[in-house]
């Protein structure tokens, strides 16, 4: 029954916020909904950890360790972003950020907030649906749902640039997802050849994975290519990454954080589901070459843009392109080590990335610009907490050792070595070092330096609590991982490697 509740809570929160009109009530609904969601998600993970996969409505919704992990991460990110969103939008409203959008025909400020507080729960609902859907068709519908819900998020401020970003996001997303649909259809066709059943269960993952080895080999090869390109577009892997910088720099920070941390997981989750099928059908060789190629390509594309970046919001986008590249590369290396590295990376990335967006948001609201050129530096004086958190999270996100992402990158490196890809591993480390240098140089020049005399901006309780809370979680994760979480990850690794 947990699965049903997991879906109903966000689904109900959206329209409820729509009718409540006043800001305080909407914020309260949003916050409580996501808090409940997180509790349900933890309960689900514990149950799955104890007693294996849970399914309801005769297999329509199905939750094994992998999907429980994605649900948990999405719920965590949603809660943290909603806490931050309260402070963020109060600041935006008081500084009249919505006026420019209104001139261009967008709604008034309070309508904008209503729009946000109705769409975000639906956005989270579709993310949860992605993880729980047993039927690959419904999986596609859910991911299409996330795209549709987030187009409005990108279009939120209604400026010319946000329209442009929304248009590109919608069109590229549409094309990507149609490829993914084509891949799903072909998978169904190759399964149809083998199973012959054309009832609803024909596309259920739990049914397909059982006898994936008898699928029609060439069709599965074409299907995996289309799925990789389709869900790769949603994950932001090069060369389908072009929409990401525009979308992340135009969406409001909480929306962008959810896009970067949660939707990335859903897209990678979809890719992993099909990877399991293809690996069982064609053997891991075919898929891993493609995944390694695209993984390294995305990391390679991210490096020059981070080194010579002018806008710190866009730099965050390239960092998330780099991280999706790392995850795909880890999947490409495969084997228990590679998959463990990928899942650890997905977990730690979802915890670390939102703080990066929150700090960037605070800085942008303080400086009213997101260009390095216009920021005179010395932010540590006017906003010590955000400055320190920004430096710390820059080190965490680029995989500097005391933090947890270093452990996942080390596991991925060992996976690369165990598969004998010495040159690829060296390339992998060079990209990581280049990105670390580019990132730290930009952020250090932004945060450190003489005091430009800006007024102190650390007033909002909500923003401060979310930044400090998340920073503490990141520091602790560097040294100690809660045992149930690790058991969940271990279970997910077994699913991906053995494909039970």
């Amino acid at each position: 029954m947990i699965l049903i509740w997991l879906l109903i809570v966000p689904l109900a929160a959206g329209p409820l916020a729509f009718f409540l009109r006043r800001r305080h009530l909407m914020e309260a609904v949003n916050l409580t909904a996501f808090a409940v969601l997180l509790c349900l998600a933890t309960a689900l993970s514990l149950q799955v950890g104890r007693s294996g996969p849970v399914s309801v409505l005769d297999g329509f919704f199905y939750a094994d360790a992998l999907s429980a992990l994605v649900v948990l991460l999405s719920a965590f990110v949603a809660l943290i972003c909603s806490i931050y969103a309260i402070g963020y939008f109060r600041h935006d409203e008081s500084n009249g950020v919505f006026q420019e959008g209104e001139k261009l025909g967008g709604g008034r400020a309070i309508n904008k907030l209503r729009e946000y507080y109705t769409l975000t729960p639906l956005f989270v609902f579709s993310m949860i649906l992605v993880a729980l859907a047993n039927n690959l068709g419904i999986l596609w519908v859910a991911i299409e749902g996330t795209t549709l819900a987030s187009v409005f998020l990108v279009m939120f401020y209604g400026r010319e640039t946000s329209l442009e970003a929304a248009w590109k996001y919608a069109i590229i997303g549409g094309v990507g997802l149609s490829m993914a649909l084509f891949g799903t259809i072909l998978t169904y066709y190759s399964a149809h050849q083998a199973l012959g059943t054309d009832t609803l269960a024909g596309l259920n993952w739990s049914v397909l994975v059982g006898n994936a080895s008898q699928f029609d080999k060439p069709t599965m090869r074409l299907a995996f290519i289309l799925i990789l390109l389709g869900y790769g577009t949603k994950a932001g892997i090069a060369p389908m990454h072009t929409w990401k910088p525009d979308a992340y720099s135009e969406a409001p920070i909480p929306g962008a954080a959810m896009l970067a941390a949660a939707v990335l997981n859903c897209a990678i989750y979809g890719l992993v589901r099909f990877y399991i099928l293809t690996a069982k059908c064609l053997g891991p060789g075919f898929a891993s070459h493609l995944l390694i190629l695209f993984g390294l390509l995305s990391m390679g594309v991210a490096v020059p843009f981070i080194l010579v970046q002018k806008n710190f919001r866009r730099m965050l986008a390239y960092s998330s392109i780099d991280h999706s590249g790392i995850m795909v590369l880890a999947l490409g290396f495969g084997g228990p080590l590679g998959v463990l590295g990928m899942l650890l990376h997905m977990t730690f990335h979802s915890i670390t990335k939102p703080l990066l967006f929150f700090c960037a948001g605070n800085v942008q609201q303080q400086l009213k610009t997101d260009l390095f050129r216009e920021a005179k530096g010395g932010l540590i004086h006017s906003m010590p907490l955000t400055g320190a958190a920004f430096l710390m999270v820059t080190l965490a996100v680029t995989g500097a050792p005391p933090f947890s992402l270093f452990l996942s990158e080390f596991t991925i490196l060992r996976a690369g070595f165990s598969r004998g890809y010495l040159v690829l591993a060296i390339l992998f480390i060079t990209f990581l070092v280049a990105i670390f240098s580019g990132f730290l140089i930009h952020i250090a020049n932004l945060v450190l330096g003489p005091d430009p005399g800006l007024p102190s901006a650390e007033t909002c309780r909500w923003k401060k609590s979310s930044v400090v809370g998340l920073a503490l979680v990141i520091i602790v994760m560097g040294f100690w991982i809660p045992a149930p979480l690790f058991r969940l990850i271990q279970g997910a690794v077994d699913i991906v490697t053995s494909g039970r």
Partner: protein, 681 residues
């Protein structure tokens, strides 16, 4: 021997450092209290660290213990063997002296700076260093290594107001991350061969390393540890970062953080990789010689006191690498005895350099503390207002130039002996290379002496050259005590070298096999021998006593000549011109002019003189003189690399040019290509 409480004291020292870090961070609002807590806990931690090291060395056998953590492959496991004990002893001595020194050095921070944050980083640095030296798990080593780099970065950019410090800090952390990347790859390679993450397994699995794997691992580790130790081609961050840090931190940076690279090399080259081929040892030797000679040559041209000392760190790291390289060559040539002597020379010089370099930086720090300027051209005549600092700086200068009877001379003497022994034993090219390295070492020693004559004389002697140096005042009491301890350490290690050498027995036995300490000391405990049957002998203690005894005839000579001689103070000879002022004194630029002309090939000196005159050029109103030497490494090697990278990056930005058609075209082309080539089985 009963089991000495090594693990207990070690964990107590680690606990003290961590508690110190958190408490000083917590109490940052009350600066005075915070200052005492920070220095007090650091001192206590250093004392217990020192105790643990002494017990570890006396114990002789390695002590291992570990605490498991939730994460796979990663355990907090420590291995306190002789090598770890030795480096922890160095760290303890330095940390103790610097904490005492910091008691009053941090007083000037009280109003302006956040002492709590400084204390936090200071304790983090000491903690990470302790863990780096004792980690037995590769992952723990890497994490402690990077935490050390990050803490050092935080401390280097403590005065982050001026651009130069920020630039130097970023250069430091980027280079530190590059070397961490190399180590990451190296360790991953070793872990893949040995299958597990702790050093004990590396030792046993070293024999399975194929020669190509060994070569790749050696290059990666040498690159990684070399960048951290600041050897010549990768040294550019060192003279940039160390001077801008607060003085008590730059002394730690030069003293012990550089030695982390040396510790890594000793641990991995002698244990982790099995018997390295002879070209590896020769490469280390050649890089050592290069670093030594170029380091001292660049130091000669520096007029900023702390940059001069930073370049000298490069020189001394070079000398240590000469010893290490010789040890590697002897090991592969099958002479463990000689390898042990060379290793003792290298590690003894590591300890000596740590002590006198830290002393010199603390001296420079107290000069900066009282005059506010690091530029030697503005200092001068400080020996009168600051006698104690001057004396300590003089002792440090004599020690670093390797002059008897101090500790610098003993370790350089051992290095010479091992190089000399190299002639007879190795074949082919190395027969010539060792004595040539010896002569280069002599050149380095002499140039170091010249450089420190300049540094000491221009800073401390004759007339003060600027208002600040005139108004200089002696350093506060705790700074003097800090320097005093290190001066004492220099003297004790210098004179008592023969009692200190057996400390290395357990170390050489573990790393190379033979226990050489005993036959380094001849029958009567005073004389240090070179290990070979009737090889070179030296005894610093007897030399010191003889020098004192010979003073008697000199004093008799001077005082016995008839009636009491009249001694009066008069003006120095001023060729008849009235009034000798500080402008007549020799400046640092003038002093190093001769060497700049001789080595102009290396320096490419450039000089620019502008005279301001109104009537005729022969009666100038003002002359502006500016001379500089060419930073060859930055200009020739690093600047073009950086430009190439940035130009490539800016060109690559064209793929995100904004047109949606282009974006769709990328996906379309990828799709078509994959369809055509991907589908084919």
């Amino acid at each position: 021997m009963n089991t000495l409480p090594v693990a207990a004291t070690f964990t107590l020292s680690v606990a003290l450092y961590s508690v110190g870090a958190l408490v000083s961070l917590a109490s940052w609002r009350k600066p005075a209290l915070c200052r005492h807590i920070c220095c007090g806990t650091a001192l206590a931690g250093a004392i217990f660290g020192g105790l643990a090291a002494v017990f570890g060395i006396l114990q002789g056998t390695a002590v291992r213990w570990s605490i498991s953590s939730g994460i796979p492959l990663f355990a907090y496991s420590f291995d306190y063997d002789a090598l770890a004990g030795f480096f922890n002893l160095t760290l303890a001595i330095l940390a103790g002296a610097v904490s005492i020194y910091s008691f009053s050095y941090l007083k000037e921070f009280e109003g302006k700076r956040n002492i709590g944050f400084f204390g936090f980083l200071f304790h983090l640095l000491l903690l990470s260093l302790t863990i780096v030296f004792t980690a037995a798990n590769a992952l723990l080593f890497l994490i402690a290594w990077e935490v050390m780099a990050l803490a050092a970065y935080g401390l280097v950019t403590f005065y982050h107001e001026d651009r130069e410090t920020r630039r130097a800090g970023l250069l430091y952390i980027v280079m530190a991350h590059i070397d961490a990347g190399c180590l990451l790859l190296g360790f991953a390679l070793l872990m893949q061969v040995s299958g597990s993450a702790d050093f004990a397994q590396f030792r046993t699995a070293a024999v399975h390393l194929s020669s190509s794997q060994q070569a790749i691992a050696f290059v990666l580790f040498f690159l990684g540890f070399g960048i951290k130790a600041g050897v010549i081609p990768f040294h550019i961050w060192l003279p940039a970062a160390h001077p801008v840090a607060p003085s008590n931190i730059s002394s730690l940076l030069s003293g012990i953080v550089l030695k982390a690279g040396i510790y890594g090399m000793a641990r991995i080259f002698l244990e982790g990789l099995g018997v390295l081929p002879s070209w590896a040892g020769l490469l280390v030797l050649i890089v050592g010689v290069g670093s030594a000679v170029l380091g001292v040559l660049y130091a000669l041209m520096e007029h900023d006191l702390k940059r001069l000392l930073a370049y000298h760190s490069i020189e001394n790291i070079g000398i240590i690498l000469i010893g290490l390289g010789a040890a590697l060559v002897f090991r592969v040539a099958g002479h463990p005895q000689l390898a042990a002597v060379a290793l003792i020379a290298a590690l003894f010089h590591t300890l000596n350099h740590a002590i006198f370099k830290c002393l010199l930086f603390l001296g420079a720090g107290s000069v900066l503390h009282s005059t506010g300027s690091r530029n030697m051209e503005e200092l001068g005549g400080l020996i009168r207002p600051m006698p104690v600092t001057a004396f300590c700086f003089l002792i440090g200068a004599v020690a670093i130039s390797g002059l008897p009877p101090l500790n610098g001379f003993v370790s350089e003497w051992l290095t010479y002996q091992s190089l000399l022994a190299g002639f007879g034993v190795t074949g082919g090219l190395t027969r010539i290379l060792f004595p040539l390295a010896g002569s280069m070492l002599a050149l380095t020693g002499a140039l170091a002496a010249a450089c420190f004559v300049k540094a000491f004389a221009i800073t401390f002697l004759a007339l003060p050259r600027s208002a600040e140096s005139r108004s200089a005042h002696e350093a506060p009491r705790s700074m003097r005590i800090g320097m005093g301890c290190l001066t004492g350490a220099c003297l004790v290690l210098g004179l008592g070298a023969t009692w200190f050498v057996p400390v290395f027995d357990a170390l050489t036995e573990q790393l190379l096999g033979p226990r050489v300490g005993t036959n380094l000391i001849t029958a009567h405990r005073w004389v240090l021998s070179a290990g070979t049957p009737h090889g070179g002998l030296v005894s610093t203690s007897v030399i010191a006593i003889a020098l004192l005894l010979l003073l008697i005839p000199a004093v008799l000579l001077v005082s016995s000549a008839g009636r009491r001689f009249a001694r009066r103070r008069g003006p120095a000879w001023d060729c008849g011109l009235p009034g000798l002022s500080e402008h007549n004194e020799y400046t640092a630029t003038g002093f190093s002019k001769a060497l700049r002309m001789i080595f102009s090939v290396l320096y490419q000196p450039r000089r620019e003189i502008q005279t301001v005159f109104d009537v005729s050029p022969y009666f100038p109103k003002a002359i502006r003189f500016e001379s500089e030497i060419e930073p060859t490494f930055e200009k020739r090697l690093y600047a073009p690399l950086k430009d190439l990278l940035l130009r490539f990056a800016t060109r690559m930005r064209a793929i995100q040019a904004g047109s949606i058609h282009a974006y769709l075209a990328y996906i379309f082309v990828t799709l078509v290509l994959l369809l055509l080539f991907g589908v084919r089985p």
